[in-house]
């Protein structure tokens, strides 16, 4: 399994000279599985460039797991080239709703007046389903989804292949509903991240910022580190960078988080566009 980051910014795209090192595109991660299957996590603006790459090959099937439907996680869909190419089959999964299907909810964005073209005009075969309740197989990986603490119905994902685990919780505020010393099973998202080799986790705020944004659905870098420690994660990657965070400020946040890492954990990293992680090379 190879993970490629196409977007790690949170809330709003943030292009410009201040964010050129880590990138300004919103959430999108490509997973290339061992059997060649393409599994995509979220459809933020980063999916535009990924779509350009996929469109260079013959049409096939791609699987897209959406954590939730806030704009920064779906805003790239209208510019995802395979959606407008005949022959592609795109299987989407997203959070369940009691009031509308996933297609109906996504169509609220992919339709006028918010977008000029409707999802019904897509030339690819787009299948949109609520996530299965139990872990399910996608290509050579097993995918598990659970609802996690954030504003509105939101999922986290756990992808396991050949004993290697990626946990993806880009929008998550576990310590809104748990205390740092709570039993770990009472911490939102714990089971998804438990023992993961790599955790891509929300670290949008500094500690000072978090105080004024309690309940907005995001974590501080310190909370991300505490969550990773509670879950026994091997390596934490800071993700969902605040759109106001410059590269320099992001590195300052990283330094604070790195000091919180324990001896049995690897040094954290900052998720950046272009970063590629080969799980097969993890010892």
């Amino acid at each position: 399994m190879i993970a490629r980051i196409w977007g790690a910014r949170g809330s709003l795209s943030a292009p410009g000279p201040e964010t050129v090192s880590y990138g300004g595109n919103t959430s999108c991660v490509e997973l290339e599985l061992a059997d060649g299957t393409t599994l995509i996590l979220d459809a933020g603006s980063g999916i535009r460039e990924l779509g350009q790459k996929l469109a260079e090959r013959d049409p096939g099937t791609a699987y897209i797991c959406l954590t939730h439907l806030h704009l920064d996680h779906v805003e790239g869909l209208g510019f995802f080239a395979p959606l407008w190419r005949a022959g592609w089959k795109l299987q989407f999964w997203g959070p369940p709703s009691t009031t509308a299907t996933l297609r109906e909810r996504i169509s609220r964005y992919l339709s006028p007046p918010l977008f000029p073209i409707g999802l019904s005009e897509a030339t690819a075969e787009a299948v949109l389903d609520d996530v299965p309740r139990e872990p399910w197989r996608v290509g050579s990986a097993v995918v598990e989804a659970q609802t996690v603490e954030h504003r509105g119905p939101t999922l986290g994902y756990r992808i396991e292949e050949d004993g290697r685990v990626l946990a993806y919780l880009p929008d998550h505020e576990p310590y809104l509903t748990s205390a740092l010393d709570d039993p770990r099973e009472w911490i939102s998202g714990w089971a998804l991240a438990a023992g993961a080799d790599l955790l891509l986790h929300d670290s949008q705020y500094t500690d000072d910022e978090y105080v004024g944004r309690l309940g907005w659905g995001h974590s501080s870098g310190a909370h991300a580190a505490a969550f990773a420690r509670a879950a026994g994660v091997r390596r934490l990657a800071l993700f969902h960078h605040d759109p106001m965070r410059s590269d320099r400020a992001l590195e300052e946040l990283y330094d604070q988080v790195a000091e919180l890492v324990q001896e049995d954990q690897e040094q954290p990293l900052i998720a950046r566009e272009g970063l590629q992680i080969d799980f097969g090379s993890i010892a």
């Binding site: 659970q146 603490e149 748990s178 099973e185 714990w190 089971a191 438990a194 023992g195």
Partner: protein, 134 residues
């Protein structure tokens, strides 16, 4: 590593209960007592920290719930049990023995916690101790 954990709805319900000054108790989908808050501890006679999680049969035996006419209630007949089994809100009064040995009449409002339209993950019970009859 065992990775089982409660559904997020139960986690949020527990979090809500920790912040409430009203006695509140939470059971999971099996009927096991998984949490009660400090205010509930005052009525039950012991704190959750002292007791911890309890299986359904165990907490029924501990608190000896009875109707106001002193007929014994099984766990399934308590408001929490009815809310869980029949998937509907319930309001009822009954007698129980606190772990401090004192008998209490309490009124309970219990409602099922649905995580999906067809899935109940537990029950939240909010209760009040009735003042002694004059």
């Amino acid at each position: 590593m065992e990775r089982k954990q409660p559904d997020l709805v139960l986690i949020v319900a527990r979090s809500f209960a920790t912040k409430l000054a009203t006695p509140t108790l939470i059971i999971d989908a099996r009927g096991d007592l998984v949490y009660f808050n400090d205010a509930a501890g005052e009525v039950l006679g012991r704190s959750y920290v002292d007791i911890g999680a309890l299986q359904a049969s165990h907490w029924q035996a501990l608190f000896q719930p009875r109707t106001l006419a002193e007929e014994p209630l099984t766990a399934e007949q308590t408001p929490g049990g009815v809310a869980l089994l029949e998937r509907r809100p319930v309001r009822d009064s009954f007698v129980m023995r606190g772990l401090d040995g004192r008998e209490r009449e309490i009124t309970v409002t219990a409602f099922p916690l649905f995580s999906r339209p067809d899935e109940v993950v537990g029950v939240m019970s909010i209760f009040w101790e009735l003042p002694p009859a004059p």
